[in-house]
């Protein structure tokens, strides 16, 4: 008997494993992924996360479905949302908001001035976390005037205050009933807003289900159920779209994992409709001007780089026409940015002339230019996890090589790239702007020392003047003066070529052919789901 003991152990082990496997199969039923045709099943590469409306960890698109803000950013500037109107004091320091009546939170609690005060106070008690938002440091108090009137008092005039109150986070209105001990900074007990959709189910890293809010003050949304399914890989997403396991997708600028041609082919099947937004952000190269040892400290070299990059190829050949070639940091559609600036089209010959004039000569038989024995070379760091940046960087490398510049590429994961941006440990660094409604004031603000783009302005001869103008424009209350200041700020940045624009990115929505009214908001991170309607 003893000699068969080993075999028995193996057989017994295998049988246990089989039993476990059988149990696994039998305990799992279908979880109901198949839904009727009026359900929108959105594919997303990430889970919605913690959608606390006062913090940043959750998916903004999901936060925008559940929460609302006092004002809404539109193409015509801030418009009414939960505040039906407002007025601003003469000195620009007091904002009085008149709230919508008959609005309730999804838990039945009334939306009123007290709820607004509790929300704004909770955000302000965590204002270190919102330091990127100049408004957070300027709010002195939020006072209840009557049941439907609140007064926001600022320490100094700040013209983008309404814009910033319209960002989905951090000034989302959440039901005070879900605050924990009156606070939201360490979490909330539920995700309850006044928005058009309620979060009804969330299985982390699998899916989140939203159902239309029947009591929504703006009328019940047309699409009754939206499921947001997590699909981390672009290829699987496309196959799931083909199989109609998911039927809705919105791309992400700067981080698309989808093959452009495959998306277009899906549109040709007749099952889907492809809708594209206007440009929402700009892909850019940040140029570090603060290192005197780097050739990029010289304006002619930066200008030559600008002329040497073939933006048409980047936008049309590499990105399949999804992006537009960009010649300015901000597109002309961005508020205050319809500025006439010197056009620097792709012109390698001009780049060569500029470099020759600057003393960077190409010796016979050499691939790269030199001056005083030093080769004209620098590096470009890109985010290796963001699709497309590697290919774009390689095309730029070949463009620069054609004019005699040696570009070394460094692809790193996000944290390493952010570390470089923070410490200025780069020559050129790939980045993508936030787009409206954060533009142009947020980008202007981070041009200052300590800001994310501070190293791009550090070496400019007019740096101090530029910083003063940024401070002035943010406090400006005169529209004409503000326009002039922005013109000067972005003209300087353009003239100095310290931020080199590449392409303007767009969003693409893939939706069922019977889904109507697919359109985009100003904010590239959100979508107006409440406007969608099945035929």
């Amino acid at each position: 008997m003893r000699k068969y003991q080993g075999t028995r152990v193996i057989i017994a082990g295998a049988l246990i494993l089989v039993l476990v496997a059988v149990l696994l199969f039998s305990t799992y039923g279908q979880t109901g992924q198949s839904e009727d045709e009026s359900t929108l099943i959105q594919a997303s590469s990430h889970d919605i996360g913690d959608i606390n409306g006062h913090l940043y960890g959750g998916a903004q698109m999901a936060q925008g479905m559940v929460y609302e803000t006092l004002v809404e950013n539109t193409v015509n500037g801030p418009g009414p949302r939960l505040a039906e109107s407002w007025n601003i004091s003469e000195d620009g320091k007091v904002y009085t908001f008149y709230l919508l009546k008959n609005v309730t939170f999804q838990d039945g609690e009334p939306f009123n001035a007290q709820a607004v005060k509790e929300n704004i106070d909770a955000v302000q008690r965590n204002k270190e976390r919102h330091a990127w938002l100049a408004l957070a440091s300027r709010i002195v108090s939020c006072d209840v005037v009557d049941n439907y009137t609140v007064k926001l008092v600022l320490s100094e005039a700040y013209y983008p205050a309404l814009n910033e109150l319209g960002y989905t986070r951090p000034y989302s209105m959440m039901s005070p009933g879900c605050f924990i001990n009156g606070e939201t900074k360490d979490g909330v007990s539920g995700y309850i807003g006044t928005g058009p959709y309620k979060l009804t189910e969330h299985v982390e890293d699998q899916y989140a289900a939203f159902e239309a809010n029947p009591d929504y003050w703006g009328g019940e949304p047309g699409v009754k159920k939206i499921i947001r399914k997590v699909l981390p890989i672009g290829q699987t997403t496309l196959l799931a779209l083909q199989k109609k396991e998911v039927n809705f997708l919105v791309t992400e600028t700067g981080g698309n994992m989808l093959d452009v041609q495959a998306v277009r082919d899906l549109g040709k099947t007749g099952d889907y409709r492809i809708t594209q937004s206007d440009p929402v952000s700009t892909k850019i190269l940040l140029v570090n001007t603060g290192n005197p040892e780097s050739p990029l400290a010289e304006k002619p070299v930066r200008e030559a780089v600008w002329y040497a990059i073939d933006r048409d190829s980047l936008a049309n050949d590499l990105l399949g026409g999804e992006d537009f070639p960009a010649e300015t940091l901000m597109s002309k559609a961005v508020p205050y940015c319809n500025i006439d600036l010197k056009v620097r089209n792709f012109d390698p010959e001009k780049a060569r002339q500029i470099l020759d004039a600057a003393g960077w000569k190409l010796e016979n038989g050499s691939e790269y230019r030199t001056r005083d024995g030093k080769t004209l070379k620098f590096n470009l760091c890109y985010f290796s996890a963001k699709a497309g940046q590697k290919a774009m960087s390689e095309l730029i490398q070949s463009n620069l090589k054609a004019v005699g510049i040696q570009l070394e590429l460094t692809g790193e994961e996000n944290n390493a790239c952010y570390d470089r941006r923070k410490t200025g440990n780069y020559d050129m660094l790939f980045d993508v702007t936030w787009g409206v409604p954060y533009e142009p004031h947020c980008t202007a603000n981070i041009l200052k020392p300590g800001g994310s783009y501070g190293d791009t302005t550090k070496g400019l001869p007019e740096a101090e003047k530029l910083y003063r103008k940024v401070d002035e424009v943010l406090a400006s209350r005169d529209e004409a003066a503000r326009k002039e200041l922005y013109t000067e700020i972005f003209s300087t940045v353009h003239e100095e070529a310290n931020i080199i624009p590449l392409t303007y990115g767009r969003l693409t929505a893939i939706s069922p052919k019977n889904l109507e009214n697919v359109h985009f908001l100003q904010n590239q991170y959100e979508l107006p789901f409440k406007d969608l309607q099945f035929e």
Binding site: Q30, E128, Q206, L239, N414
Partner: protein, 309 residues
């Protein structure tokens, strides 16, 4: 046997502590400040120095390394892996569901690998040199050689989209297991069936087999003896494959949107969510040690000589 078991268990304990210390040390050598990374992972648009300092204090990162290690080790032994820097939730509430999801996948895959590689191994060994042997080896080798990402996409396209037989991704029903298990096991079967086949072929030429055959023992019995003697190498391999699978599921989990521990760990690495990464290392290391122990014990059960050594 009891003495052997006790000896092996005691040998595993210091190994576990060495792994825990090395992993804690190496992870903490990362140049990126985890407090800063946690803020970035939470999409805080501008990370100021004051905010970083405040977060460091909140996360306890301002304490000396050895104190942090001691606290962490003591808590970990009580299965308390601390709070996630990024999600601000207990790590166990993240690790456990993800680990169970992966374990389900790995369990079904292990069963599949054990049965199919044994079946193919015996099939080929008994037909050594025949066309069937060569074709089987060729096909299984091809599956071992191709990347699992590519096989996964191909299988989704064919079985889920073209034939409309199976779901493309996710978990929930028995049908959701079929494609990821097929992709994961295809690589392992190609490896383990060869171990069994080659071992059986080698044993077939041993004197004891000649003796059994000459004694007129039925082929069925002779083959059973050959298989039993050939399993020793494969048992070690199988046992180490299980934690290997646990640690190596990330590609399959991403392709099939399976919310397992591989995906959790990779995102934690990118976010510098150190408590999650540390918990992952400890859990996987514990499984490697455990299955190594099981392999030794099973081999010792099969081969008494090993116990004497």
């Amino acid at each position: 046997m009891r003495a052997y078991v006790i000896k092996r268990i005691f040998a595993a304990v210091p190994l576990f502590f060495i792994i825990s210390f090395c992993s804690f040390l190496l992870i903490n050598l990362s140049p990126t400040d985890p407090a800063e990374a946690a803020l970035r992972a939470n999409d805080v648009p501008v990370v100021t120095q004051e905010l970083v300092e405040q977060t460091r204090e909140q996360l306890g990162l301002d304490r000396p390394f050895l104190i942090r290690y001691g606290n962490w080790l003591s808590d970990s032994l009580h299965l308390n892996f601390g709070q996630s820097y990024v999600k601000r939730r207990p790590v166990s509430s993240l690790i456990l569901p993800a680990f169970l999801n992966t374990l389900k996948l790995v369990t079904v895959t292990s069963v599949t690998v054990i049965f199919l590689s044994t079946a193919f191994g015996v099939f080929c060994a008994l037909r050594e040199g025949s066309r069937a042997d060569k074709v089987t080896r060729g096909v299984l080798f091809a599956f071992t050689a191709v990347p699992s990402y590519w096989v996964g996409i191909l299988m989704i396209w064919f079985f889920a989209v073209r034939l409309n037989l199976l779901p493309t991704s996710g978990m929930g029903s028995a049908a959701h297991y079929i494609l990821p298990v097929a992709v994961m096991s295809s690589g392992y079967i190609g490896f383990y069936f060869r171990l069994i086949r080659n071992s059986m072929v080698r044993n077939n030429g041993e004197n004891y087999v000649l003796y059994e055959k000459a004694s007129g023992l039925p082929d069925r019995l002779v083959n059973r003896h050959i298989l039993r003697n050939s399993l020793q190498t494969a048992v070690s391999g199988f046992c180490m494959a299980v934690p290997g699978m646990l640690a190596g599921t990330v590609v399959v989990e991403n392709v099939f949107a399976w919310p397992g521990i591989g995906r959790l760990c990779v995102s934690a690495i990118f976010d510098r969510d150190l408590p999650v990464v540390q918990a992952y290392i400890i859990v996987v290391a514990a499984f490697f040690i455990l299955f190594n122990l099981i392999a030794d014990l099973v081999n010792a059960a099969i081969n008494p000589k090993l116990r004497e050594e």
